[in-house]
């Protein structure tokens, strides 16, 4: 018996009524990255990168060059105003190389293979026109792939995530530590940069798994044991923290059930995403919505999936999409639940936590607040079933649809059937006009 909320076969709000299976990969597809409005790249354990047209599902290019699985991929578009925009992608692989690809021609532009360890993350600082690679050390490169500077060997585990912070700073997640670096322009050369370790933050109890920037002033980290810390992006101080997502001591009715299933895997913060107001966390099998202003979780779905949630994304229309190891993709909607003040608060549905350690006072304050603020809950509006194995990631293309990639080697393009049908009609009548077969009788 599972406590996962299910939705029947009738899903009126689910717009995705057409799918297109894109075949090509021979191993787990782990990464999807958007190149421009209608193109995206996919990469995974087979070391091949595919470029796809998101509208037609057409395979544009098949990029071969890596001999091992891809560990990181990032788009790198030129900022030159003079030239036409050039779309590049950077890929890092377990073969200790990084390759720059040209998305227009489908050719390899350049290859760097002087790494001592696998590059686990890549990030582009568009503003400075440099890119960084993080492995056991942190390297800074310019567009021409010259190594500008690098740090000394940091950790054996290596850097798992990088995040650009204001004032030329970078946050790097290396194991349990969060290290802040600063890029300083060197005096002698015009284009030289030096990198300086500024601070090490050791507030997390376990490995930091996710790192996301909320706005210029805040960023958020999540760890394997379910800690979520909100940081000030300027002075790197802890603004708020949320931990023990699983701990429901305040809700004795569900406590026993939760405790039973409690394990680090169940509570690890797999992925974080945010909009201006909220941070959306994929914690274990559940989804939590943390409001930054209120500094508490305002809505949650403890068991949103049958298995760990791997990726989560907020859509503009108050919807949330999550994908999971169970092979399904689910669409949620954050809804307001207007409550009568006199009614007792139904707390079973979501957790509330104050900042820091929960104390009675904060708890009471939170309850007090609830009485005059609207309540939220996550409603399941649809699910997409197509993959037969874990859905690693997805890419939301707005109108064009949704691309999901999975361990079953497939990429599926989910599309709005109504829209596609209309587009086909449009194409049809265009073709008729071109062929001169369409005559309008007046």
């Amino acid at each position: 018996k599972s406590s996962v909320q299910t939705i029947g076969e009738e899903q009126i709000q689910n717009p995705y009524t057409e799918l297109l299976v894109l075949k090509g990969h021979q191993d787990i597809v782990r990464f999807l990255v958007q190149i421009d409005d209608c193109r995206f790249a996919s990469a995974g354990d087979d070391g091949i990168i595919f470029l796809w047209n998101a509208q037609t599902g057409e395979k544009l290019f098949e990029l071969h060059g890596h001999t091992h699985k891809i560990t990181a991929i990032t788009p790198f578009s030129s900022s030159d105003a003079s030239e036409e925009k050039k779309h590049l992608i950077l890929t890092a692989s377990a073969d200790r190389t990084v390759i720059v690809w040209d998305c227009t021609s489908g050719r390899q532009v350049q290859k760097v293979s002087c790494f001592h360890s696998t590059v686990k993350c890549l990030t582009v600082l568009q503003r400075l026109d440099v890119w960084l690679s993080g492995g056991s050390d942190l390297c800074v490169w310019n567009r021409k792939l010259d190594l500008l500077c690098k740090t000394s060997h940091l950790t054996d585990a290596g850097i798992s995530a990088l995040l650009e912070l204001p004032k030329n700073c970078i946050a790097a997640a290396a194991g349990k530590e969060l290290i802040i670096f600063r890029l300083i322009a060197s005096n002698d050369e015009s284009e030289g940069w030096n990198i300086l370790e500024v601070k090490r933050l050791v507030d997390h109890q376990d490995n930091i798994l996710s790192l996301v920037s909320v706005n210029d002033l805040t960023f958020v980290t999540g760890s394997h044991v379910g800690e979520l810390i909100v940081w000030d992006a300027l002075d790197w101080t802890k603004q708020a923290s949320e931990c023990n997502f699983w701990d429901s001591s305040v809700h004795p009715d569900v406590q026993s059930e939760i405790k039973l299933s409690q394990s680090p895997n169940e509570t690890s913060v797999q992925h974080l995403t945010s909009d201006e107001e909220c941070v959306f966390a994929a914690v274990g099998k559940g989804i939590y919505v943390y409001n930054l202003q209120m500094k508490r979780v305002i809505a949650s779905q403890r068991t949103a999936h049958d298995s760990s949630v791997l990726h989560i994304e907020k859509l503009p229309n108050r919807q949330l999409i999550s994908c999971s190891e169970d092979g399904s993709v689910r669409i949620w909607e954050l809804r307001e639940k207007q409550q009568l003040p006199a009614e007792p608060v139904p707390t079973g549905f979501f957790n509330m936590w104050g900042f820091g350690r929960a104390n009675k006072q904060a708890n009471q304050a939170a309850k007090k607040m609830q009485e005059n603020i609207p309540m939220y809950f996550l409603e399941l509006v649809g699910d997409l079933i197509g993959h037969s194995s874990a859905v690693q990631m997805f890419l939301y293309f707005g109108e064009l649809g949704l691309a999901t990639c999975s361990a079953d080697h497939l990429i599926i393009l989910w599309k709005d059937g109504e829209r596609e049908s209309r587009l086909r009609s449009l194409t049809l009548f265009q073709k008729l006009t071109e062929n001169g077969d369409l005559q309008l009788k007046l």
Binding site: L19, I385, S421, S425, L428, Q439, L440
Partner: protein
């Protein structure tokens, strides 16, 4: 197929009027031709009782110079077929038609004997006493020992049904021409061989004689010649003359233009024998070797070393000498090919004429539905392009004619959808689906040709009269000439004309009384006699060819190509059509089916030197092709009965060889149908096998039968069929493969195609299904696993349950969305009176065709999908769309989804880039499913 021939039997005019009085009548070209004698109250199946044979057959007979007309063989080679019918007498009749008035063996004054390369003649004969009507195809074969080197033969298609012969004249003529061409090609080869041997003999004789003369000269040097010496010298001279004559004959026979072979569709050898050629070791360019290479090398190559004999100077033509048999007259490979071809003809034209007619009409009509016909029709015949015809050689003879006919008709159609009747919310949007321009030019051209020939009518008239003057007993019912006017008008009609009831009736009216002597020449087409003298080029080289040469046609100029590659196909095609009109000038007016120009009379514009040569191929080289054609026949045989056992009149169960071959599986429930079938199918012969795709024809019957059983057996057939029509994959789950496959076969007739490729049907799968499978297949037979390997099958199925409907063949349940529409109930009524599989199949097809036309209208109505102006909101377009579907197309509830799905398929097909496959995509709805139980 659009129309069901079974319906014909029950259409009485009065009933029709009652039923249809409220509805607007169908355009004439779409209506099934009424049985012309329906008003006389006769049963259309009741044949002329007087005929003494049980079914149609083909008779080959010869006018032997020794014994006169004699029958040689019949096809099928079965004594039961001809029954008590007097073949000898009939042979006499058919051979007595003097068909070659202008035939000249040794024209007086010519130096050498000439070979007359005469065209075959085609005559329709009626023998009302015998109750036999025949299409008679006369041809001559060469025989060195025969008088004038020629042996007259004829092939006759004999049927009790006069209308069949008349209406199918065109097709019969085309098919028999091919067979004749094949036979003649083989004969020329054999004749050339014979000539070579004779030449060697003569050469040897000359040497011997020469030596003897020399010896005699030396022996007596008296200065004068002895009578003996003079005799020898005369003998030598006559041998030398004979050598020259024979050499000339050889030259003539070798220079025989093989252009017929090139331009007609007949190809005795498989054209793709490039490999064979390579293996033979001919280093010729494969593109040219086939046609341009003179045959000498090949001819000599395989002739076994021949020891010349001494021959008497005057080998008298004695009557005790045994003439060569037909088999000896012809190269064995070509002889077998010809027989195959004739068997094929017999198979094609057997059965009632209405089968042939409806089939031809529906095929022609289907060809026009270029936008929608891929949905439910067999891909097999849609694929057939003129360029591909060639490669099929002898195998699909009548198909060519139909193809040709259809492509002819394709030139005209302009699908003009006038939305006049949909006034409410839709503005008038005529959509014109035009064919390529080059196509539409054909008819005009041919028209002008027809006109050109009007002035020659005098000639034609005279010639025809001359050719039928051979006896008081022979009466000409009609000459083919009179059709010229019709042909002309026909070329501009936008739709193919089917034999309309009116024409039929007028024909009845003009039926003549049976004459005493009982032989009637219903129509003649001696093409030789059609050629005005002016057009005959007198070649000094003494080849008396019928020159349909370019310039003499006046204004028409052809540039024939030597290489018949695909690019030129169209070109040749036109030429065919142009030339065919010549013969169309003389087609009997009262047979409406003759309206199309003759597909092939072998009269083709020739290339510059008038010669296109194909090297006669060594026998062994041709063998693979032969084997291939023979290999193809068992399948033909298996279904050649046309009807499955339970559909065949019971008295044929014993007689017909083919029938017994049919599998027992299909006999399983035969008993219940025999009685009913006998009532409706008292036809004397099984219905014709469809040469295009016999396998699929068989499949259709089987599928129809299974489908009929399915809808009777399962009360939830409707939602299952709805699933298929709306594009939701239906999984048939079961333990036993045979049961599952049977169900899949039954249901496959309801599955719309996603492209012009194979149906998206998978009969048997044992591994767990995946989302890709649903994208690819719309009907799947799935094994319910008992072994541990199949553990994943069911979970996978329940996981993807939103995409599939599941029909459980073991527990007889169906899990699928609700269906409340009305369309499927017409398609699959479990109380249907239809008994036969093939009939039900056609019933389904006709309803599906109707559905297709709705989908077509829906798809190609501009304002249903796009706003009329830019400011119009999307909702109003959606409203208009729904209104159209509900009110104009009269669709209820779920039927809308069917049409929408078909429309999507049409769009995908239409907008696909040429040369690229339609990308399979899976469309689905989030609708709840229900479980149905028996």
């Amino acid at each position: 197929m659009i129309s069901a021939p079974d319906v014909v039997a029950f259409t009485r005019e009065e009933e029709l009027e009652d039923e249809l009085c409220n509805e607007p009548p169908l355009p004439e070209e779409y209506s099934v031709p009424l049985f012309p004698f329906a008003s006389h109250g006769t049963n259309p199946w009741a044949k002329v009782a007087s005929s003494k044979f049980t079914r149609d057959f083909i008779l080959i007979s010869e006018f032997s110079e020794q014994v006169g007309p004699q029958p040689l063989l019949t096809i099928p080679d079965d004594a039961k077929v001809s029954g008590t019918f007097d073949l000898n007498y009939f042979s006499l009749r058919i051979m007595s038609v003097d068909y070659q008035a202008s035939f000249v063996g040794h024209p007086p004054g010519s130096a050498y004997p000439k070979l007359n390369f005469v065209e075959d003649s085609k005559v329709v004969l009626g023998d009302s006493k015998e109750g036999a009507f025949a299409y008679v195809h006369h041809l001559t074969l060469y025989d060195l020992e025969a008088r004038g080197f020629v042996r007259p033969f004829c092939m006759a298609y004999i049927s009790a049904d006069e209308h069949k012969i008349m209406q199918q004249f065109q097709e019969l003529s085309a098919e028999f021409s091919k067979a004749s061409e094949c036979l003649k090609t083989g004969n020329r080869k054999a004749f050339a061989n014979e000539l070579e041997k004779k030449l060697k003999d003569l050469d040897y004789t000359r040497t011997v004689l020469h030596n003897e003369t020399e010896i005699q000269k030396k022996a007596n040097d008296k200065g004068y010649y002895t009578t003996q010496a003079i005799e020898k010298a005369n003998e030598l001279a006559s041998v030398e003359k004979s050598i020259i004559e024979h050499q000339d004959l050889l030259k003539q026979i070798r220079s025989y233009p093989y252009r017929k072979l090139k331009e007609s569709d007949f190809h005795p050898y498989e054209p793709d024998c490039v490999l064979d050629q390579a293996s033979v070791g001919c280093d010729q360019d494969p593109t040219t070797s086939d046609l341009a290479e003179p045959g000498e090398t090949h001819l000599c190559a395989h002739v076994p070393s021949y020891t010349p004999k001494l021959i008497k100077a005057k080998s008298a033509k004695c009557f005790d000498k045994k003439l060569k048999t037909l088999e000896e007259l012809c190269d064995i490979y070509f002889f077998t090919q010809t027989l195959d071809q004739l068997h094929q003809i017999e198979r094609t034209f057997r059965g009632d004429v209405c089968y042939l007619l409806t089939d031809q009409i529906s095929r022609a009509l289907l060809k026009q539905q270029i936008v929608t016909n891929f949905l439910f029709e067999d891909g097999s015949f849609l694929d057939e392009k003129p360029s591909e015809k060639q490669h099929r050689g002898c195998q699909g003879p009548s198909q060519d004619a139909i193809d040709r006919k259809c492509s002819e008709e394709l030139s005209a159609p302009k699908v003009v959808i006038s939305m006049g009747s949909y006034k409410s919310s839709v503005e008038c949007v005529p959509i014109k689906m035009e064919q390529e321009i080059e196509d539409s030019q054909e008819p005009k051209l041919s028209e002008s040709v027809t006109f050109e020939h009007q002035e020659n009518l005098d000639y034609l008239d005279a010639d025809i009269k001359g050719s039928i003057s051979s006896g008081e007993s022979i009466e000409v019912l009609g000459t083919e000439k009179s059709a010229s006017g019709l042909t002309k008008s026909e070329s501009q009609a936008s739709l193919p004309v089917s034999p309309s009831p009116q024409v039929g009736r007028s024909k009845v009216g003009s039926r003549r009384t049976v004459s005493e002597d009982s032989i009637e020449v219903l129509s003649t087409c001696p093409s030789e006699s059609l050629i005005p003298e002016d057009f005959k080029a007198s070649y000094p080289s003494a080849i008396n060819e019928e020159p349909y040469a370019d310039d003499e046609e006046g204004g028409l100029h052809f540039t024939p190509k030597l290489n018949p590659d695909n690019a030129d196909e169209q070109e040749e095609f036109k030429q065919d059509n142009l030339v065919q009109v010549d013969s169309a000038c003389c087609i009997g007016k009262e047979s409406p089916n003759f309206l199309e120009p003759l597909p092939d009379l072998g009269q083709k514009p020739c290339d510059e030197d008038g010669v296109v040569r194909i090297p006669p191929q060594p026998y062994w080289q041709a063998e693979p092709g032969l084997r291939g054609s023979l290999g193809g026949f068992p399948s033909h045989d298996g279904i050649s009965g046309g009807l499955l056992p339970y559909e065949v009149d019971s008295r044929y169960l014993t007689g017909s060889r083919e029938v017994s071959k049919s599998s027992l599986d299909e006999c399983s429930d035969s008993t219940s149908y025999i009685s009913s079938a006998a009532s409706t199918c008292s036809d004397r012969t099984p219905s014709p096998a469809h040469p295009a795709c016999p396998a699929s024809e068989r499949h259709k019957k089987k599928a129809g039968q299974n489908a009929l059983r399915f809808i009777r057996q399962y009360p939830f057939a409707h939602p299952a069929i709805y699933s298929l029509l709306s594009g939701r994959t239906l999984v048939v789950l079961g333990e036993e493969e045979a049961i599952v496959k049977k169900l899949v076969t039954a249901l496959s007739i309801f599955v719309p195609n996603c492209g012009v490729y194979a149906k998206p049907v998978k009969h048997w799968v044992t591994s767990p299904l995946h989302v890709v499978d649903f994208q690819k297949w719309k009907l799947i037979g799935l094994q319910r696993m008992v072994s541990p390997a199949g553990v994943n099958v069911l979970p996978a199925l329940s996981r993807y349950s939103r995409y599939v409907s599941i029909l459980d063949a073991d527990s007889k349940t169906l899990r699928c969305p609700l269906y409340k529409g009305t369309l499927v109930s017409r398609l699959a009524d479990h109380r249907t009176q239809i008994k036969r599989g093939s009939t039900y199949y056609m019933h389904v097809q006709s309803i599906l065709t109707q559905l297709c036309s709705k989908a077509f209208l829906f798809t190609f109505c501009h304002h249903l999908h796009l706003p009329i102006n830019e400011r119009e909101p999307e909702e109003s377009v959606v409203n208009r769309r729904m209104n159209f579907l509900k009110l104009q197309l009269g669709l209820a509830n779920e039927d809308i989804k069917i049409v929408q799905y078909l429309a999507e398929l049409l769009k995908l097909q239409y907008i696909q880039e040429p040369g690229r496959r339609v990308k399979p995509l899976l469309r689905f709805d989030y609708v709840p499913s229900f479980l149905y139980k028996i």
